[in-house]
Symmetry: C2
Subunit: 424 residues, 2 copies
């Protein structure tokens, strides 16, 4: 339905075609008319640089339904995907290389690359692999102390929840600690919550940083600066080519909001089709709509299959020699640790490759399975991972994992010399 | 047709609908299938960060047809509108506030805002209003000399052709001078050519900086670094909400191209619908296609009407007291000079307003006509302008200009005291 609405919005004159009802269902036509009424009659004109007001209102209503607290459309900016929003906000925070941003390690490269592009300093805090990639406040304090001892002003902290590439879901208690920590240290919290729909267990449902903050009440809930990000690229939609996203600002001063608006205006407006996608995402079909049952069936189907795939993949990795993998609680990735034997590390060195790159290339050559070496995400010295998505078709998954296991176990056999193997 | 193709690409399953042929013509369906074959079957997946290879190839073919010289798709990057491309390139050029970029004055604020955001230095060169906003190489030399005397390294020059807000079209001879100047001074030339389809006279047809450079031959044509920009936002399409654009690099080193690619990758990919729009723009219907005649009729109709509107507007402004206006040779704007009497300047000062802002606000209040004060684009001290588009409907234009004339002439009467009027 989402795609059909966009199709009609892209070519609004189709609505006057006498045959349009033969191709498009009635609720789709009604939704298309609704979104066209929010624009100047088509998707071809610039919108307000913050996004179409009517869609920002729909986003605010979505946030209110989700969190139970009202949200102000004036503090919501639509963006060309969440990445562009993150870049806008980091741009507003970073003044020089003396400004530090706390970023989880491992993390996907958006943050490291943007901080480096903007000339700031990345202050890493390590996630605890042995605690299912949990966020330890003690680590966080040490990271800040170390950055300060180097003369940095730590100005903001990033959390990615659910985690990418680590897949963990933060608990409410953990989020509270983080919020308190940010408040005590006068940090802006950036909540990268793009995977909020992608949850594969029931113990730790997604809870937004904003809801926890509002629940806490008191001065912190009125003072802590929080910026939350969301997108049409993930969830059961996965419409990443459309580049639709938003950020919502909480407790950010009107003067700062004004400056961010001014900078957003330089590139005129986010793409309008992506804005309509976002509107459709935050206001999906309701009970009673023609498309409602199909929407529920399809979205549930996608998420349940992803949940099964997360399980197949984690179990598959854990059945392999020298591979340990935390369960993917959320997001779309598996990030197994590969315990490379010293001889494999030596062989990699000889080949002029980083050990995990060496492993991933061998895997690619032997099986055609393409993965990303963990070193692209940051990790502790001497610890190796790979990242893969849980997105291959469910029916292909067992064969893929079998093929991986065969490669991995052969690889380990080849390089573990205490087993006496030598294959030359 | 463009919009129908996009509609089908957005919802590709419509192609399987038995009634699709009742709503969409056959060549539209064929084009949609073509673009879907260049993607992974829909617009919902990220593309290469440089844009879809098949569309970059179509852009290269368009450039070759236009200029008569081959173009390399590997040196063409698709962007979310031309503005984003300009920002990417300036980001690659500016290292610090000691790096200067030559920018025409008046100019639309993309360049001034981006240079300021990136921490570079804008080096202005004034366009000559009395020479129909021509570009004078003597001015250019003076600007560079002055910037150098202030310790700046001038690294690039921007030309906007046709001009925004000034509407002038650069002649081939003038472009040659500019290219030679850039070569002698080791400057990268940024050619903002987004209005290349919007030409309203026959004396100076659009000619791309790249064609002139290639025509020159010799070392300059192999060494001068040129980046040219284009978009779907202007021309007879005007699809600015779609955010589609490209830049083409000439004589830029592979290492630099690689770095620009890396930075582009941070935000993953330009929006895919905008890329398809660009493909459609650079490869419009051909003779023999079902939609060809309609395309020719409509695109010609739009441009001819714009040409008439440019004339009505220029003539209208020039019929007003104390207003002089160069003819809009190209682009979409009229930029009349308003000769404000000293008393009007005084009154503005009293009201706490910049004089041209004062005039434009009075105009808005009296007539509802919204214009942009010239000070937003930069101008010489004591000289005042306003910018307006030539886009109002042609049939409304005479009434708009009459309303403007009445306001302006009354305003001038009120503030020109040598005429002895005083209205209190």
């Amino acid at each position: 339905m989402m795609l059909q609405v966009i199709a009609l919005c892209q070519a609004p004159f189709l609505l006057d075609d006498p045959n349009v009802g033969l191709v498009f269902p009635a609720d789709t036509i009604a939704r298309a008319k609704h979104y066209l009424s929010l624009t100047s009659g088509g998707l071809g004109a610039y919108s307000d640089s913050r996004g179409i007001p009517g869609i920002r209102k729909e986003v605010a209503e979505f946030i209110e339904r989700r969190d139970g607290y009202p949200s102000d459309p004036e503090l919501i900016f639509l963006t060309d995907g969440a990445s562009k929003g993150v870049m806008q906000i980091l741009n507003a925070i970073i003044r020089s290389d003396r400004d530090g941003i706390l970023v989880p390690v491992p993390q996907y490269p958006l943050y490291s690359a943007t901080i480096s592009l903007l000339g700031g300093s990345l202050v890493p805090y390590y996630l605890e692999e042995t605690a299912n990639w949990g966020l330890d406040i003690v680590n966080l304090r040490q990271s800040v102390a170390q950055a300060r001892s180097q003369g940095k002003t730590v100005r903001a902290m990033v959390i990615i929840n659910p985690g990418n590439p680590t897949g963990q879901c933060l608990s409410e208690a953990n989020l509270k600690e983080v919020l308190k920590f940010c408040y005590e240290n006068n940090l802006v919290l950036l909540g990268d919550e793009v995977y909020q729909q992608n949850i594969y267990q029931d113990e730790r449902p997604f809870i937004s940083a904003r809801k926890v903050l509002m629940d806490m009440g008191g001065p912190i809930s009125k003072e802590l600066q929080l910026v939350s990000f969301h997108t049409v690229s993930k969830g059961y939609w996965g419409e990443c080519g459309q580049r639709g996203g938003y950020f919502e600002m909480t407790n950010v001063s009107p003067k700062t909001v004004e400056e961010i608006y001014k900078v957003a205006s330089i590139s005129l407006s986010p793409n309008v089709p992506g804005q309509i996608f976002l509107g459709l995402m935050v206001s999906p079909p309701k009970p009673g709509d023609i498309s409602y049952e199909r929407f529920v069936r399809e979205s549930k189907g996608v998420l349940e299959s992803l949940r099964r795939r997360a399980q197949i993949m984690t179990d598959g990795f854990n059945s392999c020699r020298n591979v340990v993998c935390n369960f993917t609680e959320g997001a779309m990735y598996s990030f197994p640790q590969i315990r490379l034997p010293p001889k494999a590390i030596e062989a990699a060195k000889k080949a002029g490759k980083v050990p995990d790159v060496f492993y991933c290339l061998k895997l690619l050559e032997a099986t055609g399975i393409s993965t990303v070496p963990g070193s692209g995400f940051g990790q502790k010295d001497g610890v190796f991972h790979l990242r893969t998505t849980i997105l291959p078709a469910e029916e292909d998954m067992p064969a893929i994992m079998a093929s991986f296991k065969k490669f991995n176990d052969d690889f380990m056999e080849q390089y573990e010399d205490y087993r006496g193997y030598s294959r030359m």
